[in-house]
């Protein structure tokens, strides 16, 4: 703090402004890094938290920061890990993707943290990925995502498409007899990929015709849904049971559901199944017109287990808010944190390479009464739950997979990734091994494209 | 795509090698010629069938009550306002209605505004430097260098307008009268064939006014000068020929004495003045 104040006041008093200013910021930065180094000699294990606390993503991410802090406090109450206390190092990437990379570098290089829990959006993960690989850090990523990635340094504790989207659509077909699908999404990578996977899945596995699939993308924060809802209504009024599969993101949901309600589309006519609407998103919505619409997650706050009730009570005590809600990414951090702690105990060290070896195969209980295991592809096993919105902003679980599902890093429904697999165990240690060519990092898509370009 | 095409068609605009405008042709008569010019704003006819000719080297004063259309007429001549109908010619070769302000300016029509506008952030010297007749395209301007000849010319004008001592000061600190002179100085630097001067003595002291009168009469002969002025005393002191504008057209024209004895002019003027007094 002093450093910055000194820096700010310099130019006011001196003549040769540029030099002093640069020198001052330089010195203060040096002082910062020196302080960081001195701390590194101390005992506590450092846990980095890389969640936006300001900007547009703060809505979703700031609760995850609190979750990790709560988990760290709980762990410390139990005596820490390896006889050392845990210490949270919180930075704010401010919903700015380049800043994510910078902050990740700060955590790893400046603060020398042992592990990082963080990120929400895919783009922020993509931005920090090179940093974690370069500096050999560990990142636990807690949000459902589009898959098509497996990094040696990242552990994906959220759902891959086969742990959320595909079971959800199977539920629609098998349990609800849906025959037409409107795939609505916000225009970014997660909905694009999920919808492509679903499209391929619907056509290949269930023989759904082209005209029975409608795909539409809208920009972030889209607020005028009149036309699209009208179109969906028409799409759904042609005799076949129809459902909307929504990958609509964040803020755009409120006006979307409102328009649905006002145009008289209710869950009985055209149910909407959402992959990005959880308990937290519902706190900003008048849920009365939404009752009966669906969401697919790996955890709901309404899960009826003692572990979950304990978690909720701890969360309410931690936040001091009686109305505080829990959601799926929080559970993912709960699982990820416990897995990491277990791996540290197993390895007897926090050294990243040792953890990477130790964590594969680690099994910890989740909050819905089953167990999560870390797979060799750095994804975990999860149950898939389908919930219906209730008028109190909670979900009523109407269906769940009989057992847990292991996450696929590479989807079998995308031509580019069909032959890829990830295995971070020795001796393979490869995130994109091509079973067709037997090479790590290769793909038949290469030859196909070369042929295509040659034509 | 059409943008690109229009760019291509307008490559003339980016051609820095266009020769300077050809000299004014005054062999066949007046230097400025307005015929049947009409312009209206929201239905109000600011200029109504105005016809006017200015001879080469003439000093002409234009008077008229407020709203007679004096400034609008200036706007039309300098290309700022386009008339609804009519013709405006500079010499017998240049149709001013087809040209924009810089083109008109580089033909040699200089204008002094009613409210003095000088570049306040620049020094007096720099103001004159910018006004100087020179190659005003981009690259020559970028690479332009100061030399003795230019400096001499600027000094000469500084001398004329009496601002030599203030040459290095920002024009923003000048007094009102000094700004008026600086602006006239800028006009002189342009070496115009035709000078349009809008209320040059507004806000000047008696002494300053005299100097200004000297300046303007000294210019006539070499250049044509059109002065729009309210101050009758000043007009009388410089005028050879006077045009009276009223409601957008010419009411009377002639020497000061002729004009001031014209009953229509008296009526318009006295009426207007009486009105002004009541406000």
């Amino acid at each position: 703090m002093n450093a910055s104040r000194r820096n700010m006041s310099f130019p006011l008093r001196t003549r040769s402004l540029p030099f002093r200013s640069v020198a001052a910021s330089l010195l203060s930065a040096v002082a910062l890094s020196a302080a960081g180094q001195a701390l590194a000699e101390e005992d506590p294990i450092k846990v980095g938290i890389l969640h936006s606390l300001s900007g547009t993503m703060a809505i979703s991410e700031s609760t995850l920061k609190d979750t990790v802090e709560m988990l760290i406090a709980q762990q410390n109450e139990q005596g820490g890990l390896l006889g050392r206390q845990l210490e949270a190092v919180v930075v704010d990437p401010a919903s700015n993707w380049p800043l994510f990379a910078e902050r990740a570098r700060e955590l790893l290089e400046q603060h020398e943290v042992d592990v990082v829990f963080g990120n929400w959006t895919s783009v922020s993960r993509k931005a920090v990925l090179p940093v974690f690989e370069e500096l050999n850090g560990l990142l636990f990523y807690p949000v459902q995502y589009e898959g098509e990635e497996s990094s040696e340094n990242v552990f994906y504790t959220g759902a891959a498409p086969n742990q959320q989207a595909i079971p959800a659509v199977e539920y629609l077909i098998n349990e609800m007899g849906i025959e037409r699908f409107a795939l609505l999404g916000t225009d970014y990578v997660y909905p694009r990929t999920t919808n492509r996977i679903l499209e391929a899945f619907l056509k290949e596995e269930h023989g759904i015709a082209d005209e029975d699939i409608m795909i539409n993308y809208t920009p972030f924060g889209h607020s005028d849904w009149q036309n699209i809802v009208a179109e969906v209504r028409r799409f759904g009024s042609e005799g076949k049971p129809t459902a909307v599969v929504s990958t609509i993101n964040g803020d755009a949901n409120v006006p979307f559901y409102r328009e649905l309600g006002n145009q008289g589309v209710d869950a009985g006519d055209i149910p909407v199944i959402a992959f990005s609407v959880g308990e937290q998103e519902l706190t900003g919505i008048d849920t009365a017109p939404l009752v009966g619409h669906l969401a697919a997650w790996n955890y709901f706050m309404s899960v009826d287990t003692d572990a979950n009730y304990d978690f909720i009570d701890a969360w309410i005590d931690w936040t001091g808010d009686e109305e505080a809600v829990t959601n799926d990414p929080m559970e993912a951090h709960y699982i990820g944190f416990n897995m990491w702690a277990e791996a540290v105990r197993k390895a007897g060290t926090t050294d990243p390479d040792a953890i990477k070896d130790a964590i594969i195969g680690v099994v910890v209980p989740n909050l819905s009464g089953s167990y999560a295991a870390m797979m060799p592809n750095h994804h975990i096993t999860k149950p898939v739950l389908i919930g219906e919105v209730q008028d109190n902003g909670q979900f009523d679980i109407v269906w769940q997979t009989p057992s847990t599902v292991a996450g696929d890093a590479w989807s079998e429904f995308l031509p580019g990734s069909r032959d890829l697999m990830a295995d971070w165990q020795a001796p393979m240690r490869c995130g994109n091994f091509n079973v067709a060519t037997g090479r790590c990092g290769g793909s038949t898509a290469a030859e196909e494209a070369e042929a295509a370009l040659a034509e | 795509m059409s943008i690109l095409r229009s760019l291509a068609q307008r490559d003339r605009v980016f051609d820095f090698l266009v020769p300077a405008a050809s000299p004014v042709d005054v062999r066949h008569g007046p230097i400025l010629y307005l015929e049947d010019v009409t312009v209206s704003f929201d239905g109000f006819k600011a200029i109504n069938d105005l016809s006017l000719t200015i001879d080469d080297g003439e000093l002409r004063c234009i008077i008229g009550p407020n709203g007679a259309g004096k400034t609008t007429m200036m706007d039309i001549i300098t290309g700022k306002t386009r008339p609804d109908s009519g013709q405006v010619w500079f010499g017998s070769r240049h149709d001013l209605l087809t040209m924009n302000e810089p083109e008109i300016a580089s033909l040699g029509i200089g204008r002094k505004f009613q409210k003095p506008t000088v570049f306040e952030a620049l020094t007096v010297f720099e103001n004159l430097e910018l006004a100087m007749a020179a190659d005003k395209r981009i690259l020559p301007t970028l690479t332009a260098r100061m030399n003795g000849e230019i400096r001499d010319r600027i000094d000469e004008v500084l001398e004329v307008i009496g601002l030599k001592a203030l040459r290095g000061r920002p024009a923003g600190i000048l007094s009102h009268g000094q700004k008026q002179w600086l602006e006239i100085g800028m006009l002189l630097m342009q070496r115009p064939r035709l000078l349009l001067v809008d209320e040059p003595v507004a806000g000047m002291t008696e002494q300053e006014m005299e100097r200004t009168a000297e300046l303007l009469t000294g210019l006539a002969g070499k250049q044509s000068v059109v002065v729009v002025e309210h101050d009758m005393g000043f007009v009388r002191s410089i005028a050879r020929k006077v045009t009276v504008l009223h409601q957008g057209s010419v009411l009377a024209e002639g020497s000061m004495d002729q004009v001031s004895s014209d009953p229509r002019v008296v009526e318009v003027y006295l009426g207007a003045e009486a009105e002004e007094e009541t406000v």
Binding site: S4, M8, P11, L12, L17, P18, F19, V22, L26, V30, S33, A34, L53, S54, D92, P93, P98, E102, R105, E106, V123, K126, L129, P130, E149, D187, Y188, V189, R192, Y217, F220, P415, G416, L420, N434, G441, S443, A445, A446, A452, L453 | T78, K80, E101, P102, A105, G110, R111, F113, T117, F119, E126, L130, K136, R137, L139, T141, T143, P170, G172
Partner: protein, 380 residues
């Protein structure tokens, strides 16, 4: 010939430029020495993170200089300079993307990962050529330049100035942001371009390359500064100032104001593009949020804080605000927007001439010791 070269050298005769360059050079040398010569762990050691951070600040500083050129000297408040910055960044990003080659996760030799991912079978035409460094670097300047040329040509020709121009530049960058967010555009949608490996054969993940990029940013800033300085000290610069203060008058003097505006606007856009191209390899990602109107307005704040129409003020402003941002978002994230918002208000209301203005005021007061004119001038 001689004279046309001379205008570029003119700034070297100015004391302020020499001081600026001297300080910049000294800072760059110091950082390099502290980074290279000292062992990690030494209290004065500058680690790669800090070098990288400074490199980013320097590219921002170049961007600020570009904005100051049009705002400070031409009076055009562009709220869309982020667009030129981002376009330069995208051009560089496309080059870096092509350099990944077979090392992408899908191992495709030609197509970037996101195209394989979206099932494209060939490279769109506008990606062709970006595997060649010279072409990409040319595009870094040309793409923003051409956009500025077309946009500026239309705007200046119809004399859209002042507030209107500010608003439509904002609309321009907003429209581009929406466009680049679309995945169909072929620029990676919201994820943008990332996962870069190397630049001109140097590994982007090594600290030597990072140092190199930091130095390159410093050199680019120095060159950009000298170029802008040369422009503003020329007669053309004075025409710009004249245009800023009295556009109509300048026209009546025979200057084709719109061409001067266009020329300077295009130069400025190209500099912004260059800044973007230096920024991207240092932060490792370029995505459409760089087009956000918020960012463009923030750039203007840097310039306003540092002081308009001085160029070095823009550099000071960019460094100060970004350092404050780094500090605040780390130490008290909630306070950052308050601080930023407060800065906007305080600077415009109380510090219209920015830090550089304060500095100049002090200097003058010291020089003519109670001189009566200085106060008047400062307020004029």
């Amino acid at each position: 010939m001689d004279s046309s070269r001379l205008w570029l050298l003119r700034p070297f005769g100015e004391r302020s430029t020499l001081i600026f360059l001297g300080v910049l050079l000294a800072a760059m040398t110091l950082v390099t020495l502290l980074h290279v010569a000292l062992a990690p762990g030494h209290p004065l050691y500058v680690n790669a993170y800090t070098v990288n951070l400074f490199g980013k600040y320097l590219s921002y500083a170049l961007l600020a200089v570009a904005v100051d050129l049009v705002w400070g000297y031409l009076g055009i408040l562009s709220l869309g300079h982020g667009a030129f910055f981002a376009l330069g960044g995208y051009a560089m990003g496309m080059y870096l993307m092509r350099q990944i080659g077979e090392r992408g996760v899908y191992g495709h030799p030609v197509l970037p990962d996101f195209m394989v991912f979206l099932n494209w079978d060939s490279l769109p035409w506008y990606w062709l050529g970006f595997d060649m460094a010279w072409f990409a670097f040319l595009m870094v300047l040309l793409v923003p330049g051409v956009l500025a040329l077309v946009f500026g040509f239309l705007a200046f020709r119809s004399r859209v100035t002042g507030v209107y121009l500010s608003i439509i530049t904002q609309a321009l960058t907003f429209a581009l942001m929406l466009a680049f967010f679309r995945n169909e555009m072929g620029f990676g949608g919201s994820d943008g371009l990332t996962d870069f490996r190397e630049i001109l054969g140097f590994n982007l993940r090594s600290s030597e390359t990072r140092l190199g990029l930091f130095l390159a940013s410093g050199v680019a800033l120095a060159l950009g500064y000298v170029l802008c300085r040369a422009i503003v000290t020329s007669k053309l610069g004075r025409v710009c100032v004249a245009t800023r203060d009295a556009e109509a008058r300048t026209r009546f003097l025979g200057y084709r104001v719109e061409r001067f505006q266009l020329f300077v606007f295009v130069v400025s856009a190209m500099l912004a593009g260059l800044a973007g191209a230096l920024y991207v390899p240092q932060v490792g990602i370029i995505n459409p949020s760089e087009f956000s109107p918020l960012f463009s307005i923030e750039i203007v704040l840097w310039v306003a804080l540092g002081g308009r129409a001085t160029l070095y003020g823009a550099v000071i402003g960019a460094l100060l605000v970004n350092y404050a941002k780094t500090y605040f978002t780390g130490a008290m994230p909630d306070a950052w927007l308050f601080a930023l918002g407060g800065l906007f208000v305080v600077v415009t209301v109380f510090l219209p001439k920015g830090v550089a203005g304060l500095l100049a005021l002090r200097l003058r007061q010291r020089r003519d010791d109670g001189g009566s004119l200085s106060g008047k001038e400062a307020s004029a």
